[in-house]
């Protein structure tokens, strides 16, 4: 017969201070574990959502980001004429030639001279907007083609000095006015500044485009388009689906965060496991008489083992639940940091997903199990007579 679960629960309640401290230790470990996974997930999700599946990004072979790439004007025309490019309303091809550069802007509220960060400036064409349906203007208006006007993403408007509506920026001996703020949701575009590509190229004295983006006529013809671009001897270009392109950019950083998080939590969990072990050993030591009585009443060794394991698993699940509860508040926080791979600023949110919840709960149960197994074994191995004599 099994010892009722309420026995284990009441024991935890009886020693509230000890239970509370042990749970607090475990909750902190689970919190760190969940928070780091949420950060990596948020980063990846942001970059994945930036791309659309039926868009293709074309850039110079060998360059790992748009900033390093360069495409001659005549090469862009060759790509534009590919039969796989979708035709938009009005018979125009849905292809945008873009120029991407980084500028250094002061971060808001830091006050120190050195807290600048690199922000992406994307020179776009009229076609760029229908290719990126995520981008929506929230205030002001769109820039006029052929003028020194720009629109900025909302993460940039929030995080950087002097880029609010009607703010001015100086590059290339020109003054640029911010005429609109756009929201691109949870995507990388929210951390960019957009202007007319010809003006941007002129100002930065860059005679070449950085990348081409086009929509496929049919999502399935990607492979033909890729082969056509990469085997053409006149082109030294590489093509990727936009989703793939942005996923690749998040890889290094997400991996870094995951490894960091895993190694930290494994080390930290040693502390929490020891805490659970101490609690459970004491719980056993204080209850030797009780254990003897239960054994005398006819409870089997494995029932005692199960009761103590249940107690420590309860500790673990309480810790896990508490840790996840606090971690879920992290979802309101937006982090803005430089992505090592593109060397430019990217804002992203902590994102809690079901797999992270499950992983965190499993992790805390494992902590409870490891912490409880030795004390529970000791409890179950006691001899009845000695245990009864002890108290």
């Amino acid at each position: 017969m099994a010892v009722p679960l309420s026995y284990s629960m009441r024991n935890l309640w009886k020693r509230r201070l000890t239970t509370g401290l042990t749970v607090a230790g475990m909750a902190l470990v689970v919190f760190v574990f969940a928070a780091v996974l949420m950060m990596a997930e948020g980063l990846q999700k942001t970059l994945v959502e930036t791309g659309s599946y039926d868009n293709v990004v074309v850039f110079r072979k060998g360059s790992s980001s748009e900033v390093m790439s360069g495409i001659e004007r005549q090469q862009t025309s060759i790509v534009e004429m590919l039969p796989q490019v979708a035709i938009g309303p009005g018979g125009r091809r849905l292809l945008a030639k873009e120029a991407v550069v980084l500028i250094s802007l002061p971060k808001r509220g830091a006050g120190k001279a050195s807290s600048h960060s690199n922000v992406v400036v994307r020179g776009v064409q009229e076609n760029s907007l229908p290719l990126r349906p995520q981008v929506k203007l929230v205030s002001g208006r769109l820039f006029r083609m052929g003028s020194s006007e720009v629109i900025v993403g909302n993460s940039i408007a929030k995080g950087f000095e002097g880029v609010g509506l009607q703010g001015t920026l100086n590059w290339g001996q020109r003054r640029w006015t911010v005429v609109g703020i756009f929201d691109a949701g949870n995507t990388g575009f929210s951390s960019e500044i957009w202007g007319d590509v010809d003006q941007v190229m002129q100002a930065f004295r860059r005679p070449v485009y950085s990348s081409l983006v086009f929509k496929l006529r049919d999502p399935n013809v990607f492979d033909t388009a890729k082969t056509a671009i990469e085997t053409d001897p006149r082109l030294t270009l590489e093509a990727k689906r936009e989703t793939r392109y942005y996923l690749d950019q998040s890889e290094m950083m997400a991996k870094f965060l995951r490894i960091l998080g895993m190694s930290l939590t494994v080390i930290f969990s040693i502390g929490a496991i020891i805490g659970a072990m101490i609690t459970m050993y004491t719980a056993v030591a204080n209850r030797i008489g009780e254990i003897g009585t239960m054994r005398a009443l006819g409870f089997r060794r494995r029932s005692i083992l199960a009761a103590f394991l249940a107690e420590s698993l309860l500790l673990g699940s309480l810790g896990g639940a508490a840790g996840l509860f606090f971690a879920s508040f992290m979802q309101f926080i937006t982090v803005s940091t430089v992505n090592f791979q593109t060397f430019s600023e990217l804002a992203f949110k902590f994102t809690l997903t079901v797999p992270i919840v499950l992983q965190a709960m499993a992790f805390s149960l494992v902590m409870g199990l490891i912490g409880g197994v030795l004390p529970a074994l000791r409890a179950s191995r006691m001899k009845i007579v000695e245990a009864l004599r002890a108290s």
């Binding site: 201070l17 401290l21 950060m39 550069v101 960060s117 690199n118 960091l260």
Partner: protein, 385 residues
Amino acid sequence: MILLKILFRNAFRNRLRSGLTILGITVAILAFGLLRTVIDAWYSGVEAASASRLVTRNAISIIFPLPLAYNEKIRQIEGVKHVSYGNWFGGIYIDEKNFFANFCVEPRTYMEIYPEFVLTPPEKKAFLADRKGFIAGRKLAARFGWKIGDTVTLRGTIYPGNWDFVLRGLYRGRDETIDETQFLFHWDYLNETMKKVSPRRADQVGFYMISITRPDLAPDVAIAIDMAFKNSLAETLTETEKAFNQGFIAMSGAIVTAIQMVSFVVILIIMAVVANTMAMTTRERIGDYAIMKTLGFGAGAIAVMIFGESFVIALTGTLTGMLLTYPAAAAFGHSLSNYFPIFLVSDVTLWLDLAAALLIAFCAGVIPTRHAIRVRIADGLRRIG
């Protein structure tokens, strides 16, 4: 003396529990020490940078170049001693995960400005004589098993194509804070190739490194340089090397802050564990305290007993942790040398370890002490177990 003996006896009355607690503190202090060292490693570039060297780059951002012609103009500015220049090459050796810093520089002046990179005279001569030659840090060469005379090919990301280099020298750092994982080659090699394949990108310099005659001139020289190129097509931003490196770290500030916060979380976790141990200890011993009170010992004596025990446990764990930090950092630094070329435990970290130990011991002792002092003698004696 007798007090100390009692404290130790008390602390180790329940060997298993004290042992586990000490083990927990050791692990926590070790983790704390390693995390602090990771942060220090992050800032090592700033620490090693000299305040008497300036870096000039394009004011728009680091990805925009400056004309080579600025070299002569900067040299004419009062207070400037040497000027060197270079570009970030961003080449990949076989695979992207083999990341290391690779630059091209103007070698003669670069050696003058950076005396901390030590080369033997024959190696230096061989490097200067071969335009396709490169020098690598001792650790970098060891990582890939390069030997003098080997040809190494990098795949360019910013400058397309495959580039061959011949290893002409292994530099050593003047002391252990110098990064020995860099890859340096001739700026001329890059420039002459660019002249052939893409003339538009020739004669462009990524950054100028400037040494000045007196460190206190740094702000004036920086302003003078920036003023000289004001309102030109390529305006400059000049700052000390320290500020320049600091700028890179400020960009990944969110991650550094996260690691910093996490390093304090581990202290909180262990605080909960030690507080738990102390609560249990005093709960078991409440009868002892009642007897002490009966004998006439005051609240102060009981507080000394409990806090003393807490300190004994915390300090034993911390000292073990501190001792283990050195071998752990050595092992850790070795496996992470790609990311953190410099990985040294600083004195500040050790002081913080100690401060953390005192904080843990104090916080863990507060509630049990209050409880032990407040308990009435009769209640304390009545309670068993």
